[in-house]
């Protein structure tokens, strides 16, 4: 009994000491907390309140009652989404764009970096690099405007096709061409900029390895194959897993600029569908449910790919 009382008293004293210490630390760090206040408010309002807003997916949104006051409806909107066969089309299209990107868009900057690394004249290497960075800084709207212009019925592509004796096509209105157009314009815009990270990894490879290889009589291809490529493999693995982690997080803004109702069959993805149903159609609860599904799958894949990265002995993202 006596010990219990004294323990309680002791722990109360300990709490008081801890509280005193805490207050002293906060007073000491007052300016740091003051600085942190606007950013913390920003994240609270524009990141955490919208996360709370996801509860909308389980409610019937009534704008007069707000998100909090709207009545709960359970999984109604998820059922609606999963019962609709079109939803699977959307998921398929989203994943297909990611797979096309992983198969072609992902290796492009790696190949570019390997090639740049083989250029002997530094000035020439710099010229190629600078040129390849340029499109990255051009806005999406302008890039898509150029795509639209080049692929229009009188555009340069159709002129070329005609000159070669082919039949002009309305490229952007045919579903079978949407993915290649999306992919190639993406490579054109981003491969140069994306190669920077691989070039950085290449500079970290010790020159002694190459010198030793030359002494051992390795030819150029053998040096690329056995020194350069293994040297950037860790970076490649990490970047690959990062992309896999973004399976459903395909950037829909570009799709929004390039697709048309005639190409929805291959081009309509979750992001564009959420935009049409939610913002255009004001079907807020349903669109939020689709968004939540997308975000949750995204989270699972990010965590999964990070786990895999560590399993493979690479540094994870966290």
């Amino acid at each position: 009994m006596a010990t219990a009382v004294s323990t309680a008293r002791l722990s109360r004293a300990a709490v008081r000491v801890n509280l005193d210490r805490l207050i002293r630390i906060v007073i000491r760090d007052r300016y740091l907390y003051l600085m942190m206040l606007p950013p913390a408010l920003y994240f609270l309002v524009f990141a955490y309140i919208p996360m709370y807003g996801l509860t909308l997916a389980f409610k019937d949104f009534d704008i007069s009652k707000g998100i909090m006051g709207s009545p709960w409806v359970g999984l109604k909107y998820f059922e609606e989404f999963f019962r609709n066969p079109y939803s699977y089309k959307l998921i398929y299209n989203t994943i297909m764009l990611r797979i096309w990107h992983l198969a072609f868009g992902f290796p492009a900057p790696i190949v570019l970096a390997l090639l740049l690394n083989e250029i002997r004249r530094d000035w020439f290497k710099r010229v190629v690099q600078t040129a390849s960075y340029l499109p990255h800084f051009i806005s999406l709207v302008v890039v898509c405007s150029m795509v639209v212009s080049f692929l229009s019925s009188d555009g340069i592509l159709n002129q070329l096709v005609k000159a070669l004796g082919g039949k002009p096509q309305p490229w952007l209105q045919l579903p079978q061409y949407f993915r290649p157009i999306w992919l190639i314009s993406g490579i054109w815009q981003d491969a140069g900029w994306a190669s920077v990270i691989y070039l950085a990894a290449l500079t970290a490879i010790s020159p002694e390895l190459y010198e030793a290889a030359v002494v051992d009589g390795a030819n150029r291809w053998q040096r690329i194959r056995h020194i350069t490529i293994p040297g950037i493999m860790p970076t490649v693995t990490i970047m690959f897993l990062l992309r896999v982690g973004q399976l459903l997080a395909v950037d829909f803004q570009k799709v929004l600029l390039l697709y048309t109702p005639t190409t929805y069959e291959t081009a309509d993805i979750l992001g564009t569908y959420i935009y049409r149903r939610g913002i255009i159609g004001a079907d807020f609860s349903f669109a939020t449910a689709v968004g939540l599904f997308q975000a949750l799958v995204g989270l699972v894949f990010i965590i999964g790919s990070n786990w895999l990265a560590k399993k493979l002995g690479q540094a994870g993202l966290w």
């Binding site: 740091l32 907390y33 996360m51 190629v128 040129a131 340029l134 709207v141 212009s149 229009s152 968004g291």
Partner: protein, 271 residues
């Protein structure tokens, strides 16, 4: 690479590499050049497909037309406004966030670092953000464009890493001399951090200038549209008009972005 290999195979490889790289430069730069020559050519010549490598029937008509549309200077001014105000907010907020998180002795460091990191992996998404902006009454104002994107976590962590690279002894010396954290940030860290500020200025300004989506969902009044949205409405959304056979893609840096948007309108007017 410092090692020179004089074998035939290696030289052949160099030759092929040079040709390939010239090809890459051509493919990268030709679209820009093509947009430029189309903008300087007679519209009918473009329609007949005569423009290939040089401007045909050189004319500045397109540019005159573009500049005579009041929407163009207005949307350019809007873009300039959104970009400058937005980028200023970006840099101030990012620095305010990055500095405390870079200080090892900051007691709230772990908590706030997690608060930021979580937002990089999970977000409320489009609709809840839209409804929030709606309920805050920011729709159709500049604040809807600049506030929701005030801090980019990736950029913030870049700046934090830079701050952490400044040697701890500098902070300690300043604290010993009686400087507050505010004074340290303002008088010591900022002057030392101009490289990262320049980098982030570029990243943020390019992102703000290029944005069309926030403007698309948050702005209703056409006179408030930034240039990117205006461009999208004219060039991309206008593309299935029968009048849009010329399909002006629009090019190049800032001013040409606007200037080239208008062959479409030229055609609308002519018919």
């Amino acid at each position: 690479m410092a090692i020179y290999d004089k074998s035939l195979g290696s030289r052949l490889f160099d030759l092929m590499l040079t040709v390939l790289m010239l090809g890459i430069i051509f493919v990268t730069l030709f679209p820009f050049y093509y947009i430029l020559i189309v903008s300087l050519s007679n519209g009918n010549a473009v329609l007949r497909g005569e423009v290939k490598l040089w401007p045909v029937q050189f004319t500045l008509d397109t540019y005159k037309l573009v500049l005579s549309d009041p929407n163009v200077p207005r949307s350019l001014m809007n873009s300039l406004l959104y970009t400058s105000v937005g980028t200023a907010i970006n840099l101030i907020m990012t620095a305010l966030c990055a500095y405390p998180l870079a200080r090892p002795r900051f007691s709230g460091r772990t908590f706030f670092t997690w608060m930021v990191t979580l937002t990089m992996f999970f977000s409320g998404g489009l609709i809840p953000l839209y409804l929030l902006v709606l309920q805050l009454g920011l729709i159709d104002t500049i604040w809807a464009i600049v506030l929701p994107v005030a801090i980019n976590p990736w950029n913030m962590f870049l700046m934090r890493t830079f701050f952490q690279g400044i040697h701890e002894s500098i902070y300690e010396a300043a604290l010993l001399d009686g400087a507050s954290e505010l004074q340290i940030l303002w008088r010591i860290v900022l002057p030392l951090s101009m490289p990262i500020f320049a980098t982030l200025l570029l990243f943020y300004a390019v992102a703000n200038w290029n944005d069309f989506f926030n403007a698309l969902i948050f702005l209703n009044t056409a006179s408030k549209f930034p240039i990117q949205l205006h461009l999208r409405n004219v060039v991309i959304m206008g593309r299935f008009d029968q009048t849009n056979e010329l399909a002006g893609g629009s090019g190049f840096v800032i001013i040409e972005q606007t200037l080239r948007a208008y062959p479409n309108l030229a055609f609308v007017d002519r018919r």
